[in-house]
Symmetry: C2
Subunit: 231 residues, 2 copies
Amino acid sequence: MKSYGPLISILAVIFLAGTCAAMFSEKDNKAETGKQSKVLDEIKKSLGARSILPVPVWVIGSYDKEGKPNVMTSAWVGICCSKPPCVTISLRKATYTFGNIMERKAFSVNIPSESFAKEVAYFGSASGRDVNKFSKTGLTPVKSDLVDAPYIKEFPIVIECKLLQTLELGSHTMFIGEIMDVKANKSILGGDGLPDIKKLRPFVYAPGSSNFYKTGKYLGKVPALAKKINK
Amino acid sequence: MKSYGPLISILAVIFLAGTCAAMFSEKDNKAETGKQSKVLDEIKKSLGARSILPVPVWVIGSYDKEGKPNVMTSAWVGICCSKPPCVTISLRKATYTFGNIMERKAFSVNIPSESFAKEVAYFGSASGRDVNKFSKTGLTPVKSDLVDAPYIKEFPIVIECKLLQTLELGSHTMFIGEIMDVKANKSILGGDGLPDIKKLRPFVYAPGSSNFYKTGKYLGKVPALAKKINK
């Protein structure tokens, strides 16, 4: 007859470890719930009228009068319409890109992966008036066939936009661009043929701290999450 | 004289472990670089004119004619000006919130933490015409002192906005709101008194797949990243 002593010992250790882990996990959950309740009751502090929300990071491509391609980083951006599909980007008049878009009536939106964080930071801190940002970073401008603007070959998703209208808001002018096409590297597409955020790995910007943060884990699918409330 | 045998053994193990880790790390880096080069040379695939970029998730608060508070989720949003600080949100005319904002000339923007993912998904799938979304979720509307709109007490950051102007774009109408105040729970503020994204834990939306994704790890500070190029 075989001795089951060692096997029983191993199983006992696994069982004990599991029990301990569950106990700690429960303790953590309780702590979390306690913390959450405290947060829910918290009185809010006024921070004043400021634009300090986490926002996406886009790189805007444009040509100047002489046809020199330029790129700048903007975080005052967003999707603003589904039909026609439109985006909005807001720029200061002092930027080189402002004059370029006014002249060429077109721009590209280039979505960076986290591997391009330093290029994106640089594109937001230097001016196309002083330097050729493509030469400086070694990235490649590609002339769009659809609009009068260049896009960045190496970025995983690029959007070609035709300027629809501008709107003066104060420190910034809003440009509304109609999306003429979205082009993406096949390597960042999911099984459904759409960009897969886990492969794209975009990042967000926290104004104020000037920090970039990566995209994190999957949190859930909207219809399934909504069902948890609407049951 | 003391015996250093055990100490030397421990140091040897640490050294060996470090060397192995470095070797694996280098191997990983090489693999990553190889992959990256392949990606850089990739030909882009056209996905057509679509609004399929990862975007932030905001919950818009408003009152209807009778003063019933309502909330809806929107991802066609963004910051659009620094002075005055303004946000833009785009809504379909069919939404209950559309009529509310037209009537009250005000709205709130409520930034959710990931712990509110199911409420946020629900707010985007039900209509305030049919249900009271506050009652359904147990969240608490707070009347703003500054604008004619409610905000969500339990959400970590809320922004009170006065409607500045609207713009017809097609399927969506753009609302531009001036930020009158940002209010935040102290528990999500960093040492600099500004929202700390690691404490706030906002999430992003991937249109198309309808997935929510968490905010991930710190990627870097913009000036420091830019210096790596601009040296």
